[in-house]
């Protein structure tokens, strides 16, 4: 049975600059999964645990968080904070018997493009392998 996951991407202003500049058509040409939606934040450190959980409640099968390289965040600690929150969500998903790998933090260079597309593709493929989210009627592997 073919399954197209609902992928949510939360990324900071800086890591998504080129992606946003290209627009949807440009992204599609580069192989960006059409089933992924981007939510851009001023800083990945603004992302709250509750916002990520709402994405899963809202039907996400996988969540991709993108922020600056660990020690080169435009806002100093923002991407490290985001990474900690991603870990908190993973732990909670595991406690619920759901694969923590449905969420991943990527630290990428600012404004650069191929890596950004690659990160989302990677999460998309991984999520396809896991199947629909157990919160949407799927079964955890």
């Amino acid at each position: 049975m073919s399954f197209t996951p609902d992928i949510r991407v939360f990324c900071c202003h800086y890591t998504s600059q080129q992606a946003i500049a290209e627009g949807l058509a440009g992204l599609k040409n580069d192989g960006f999964p059409p089933n992924a939606t981007i939510e851009r934040l001023l800083c990945s450190g603004k992302l709250q645990v509750s916002t990520i959980l709402k994405a899963f409640e809202d039907g996400a099968d996988g969540v991709c968080v993108v922020g600056c390289p660990v020690n080169e965040c435009h806002n100093l600690m923002g991407s490290q904070r985001a990474a900690h929150r991603v870990l908190a969500v993973r732990k909670a998903l595991n406690e619920l018997g759901v694969e923590g790998e449905r969420i991943e933090m990527f630290h990428l260079p600012r404004g650069f493009h191929p890596e950004f597309v690659e990160a989302v593709k990677q999460l998309d493929e991984r999520t396809r392998g896991m199947g629909p989210s157990p919160f949407n009627g799927g079964t955890a592997k």
Binding site: V49, S50, L53, A92, E95, L96, G137
Partner: protein, 222 residues
């Protein structure tokens, strides 16, 4: 403050598995400060409980609310505002809050959302350490302000024990031997003679060994 941490989510999901509507109730006191049961954590737990229920193929309604405190009668009475809208309460306050709800609301079903751990302080961001065990008979005036009851693994009154090595406790190498620290501190502050004072035999009944403790202040009672 009282330090607590959220229980594993699956445990709480299990508690509310027979319930359709839950009041997730936080507390603005200690558990807010140690990020275990304040407004933000209530929002997160409510979301996790709804997700847990969807995984079981059912829906769970949640009300998210936070009281000023859950250890005072007048705030607990505030729960009346949600009367008839919930089947169970998950309290994210410390165990005192859960007990107060159970004491004062005979018909409410209440579950604990956190594990209440100890009395402590914030040693660093995101790190809390135990400092006092509420023994009811404080000896800090003799020990340079460092607590041997809570901070010595054996609660010794005349440490250090033979296992103290290089200022570290033999039970947990990452923890300082508090008795070494007590001696060093008394020495540094010119109060070494405090260590030779013979302290009276402790009355441990004040530490809870004689049943639940109660404090009555005649100047405050009405």
């Amino acid at each position: 403050m009282i330090i607590a941490e959220r229980k594993p989510v699956d445990e709480i999901v299990e508690m509310v598995s027979g319930v359709k509507r839950v009041l997730v109730l936080g507390c603005r006191g200690c558990v807010s400060i140690c990020s275990a049961g304040g407004e933000r954590e209530v929002e997160i737990l409510a979301s996790l409980l709804r997700l847990g229920a969807s995984k079981q193929g059912r829906t769970l309604e949640t009300i998210e609310a936070t009281l000023v405190r859950q250890c005072d009668r007048e705030y607990i009475e505030g729960i009346d505002q949600w009367a008839g809208q919930y089947d169970a309460i998950v309290s994210m306050a410390c165990g005192v809050g859960v007990n107060f709800i159970a004491n004062l609301r005979p018909l409410d079903v209440v579950y604990p959302g956190v594990n209440t751990s100890f009395f402590g302080g914030s040693a660093d961001q995101g790190i809390w350490t135990e400092q006092c065990a509420g023994c009811g008979n404080c000896v800090l005036h003799l020990t340079g302000g460092l607590c041997p009851v809570a901070r010595c693994a054996k609660s010794l009154m005349n440490g250090p024990c033979g296992g103290s090595v290089g200022g570290r406790c033999e039970i947990h190498k990452e923890v300082p031997c508090i008795w070494q620290a007590i001696h060093d501190r008394l020495d540094r502050t010119g109060r070494k003679e405090d260590m030779s004072r013979i302290a009276p035999i402790r009355d441990w009944s004040a530490a809870g060994h004689g049943g639940p403790r109660k404090q009555v202040r005649d100047d405050l009672t009405v």
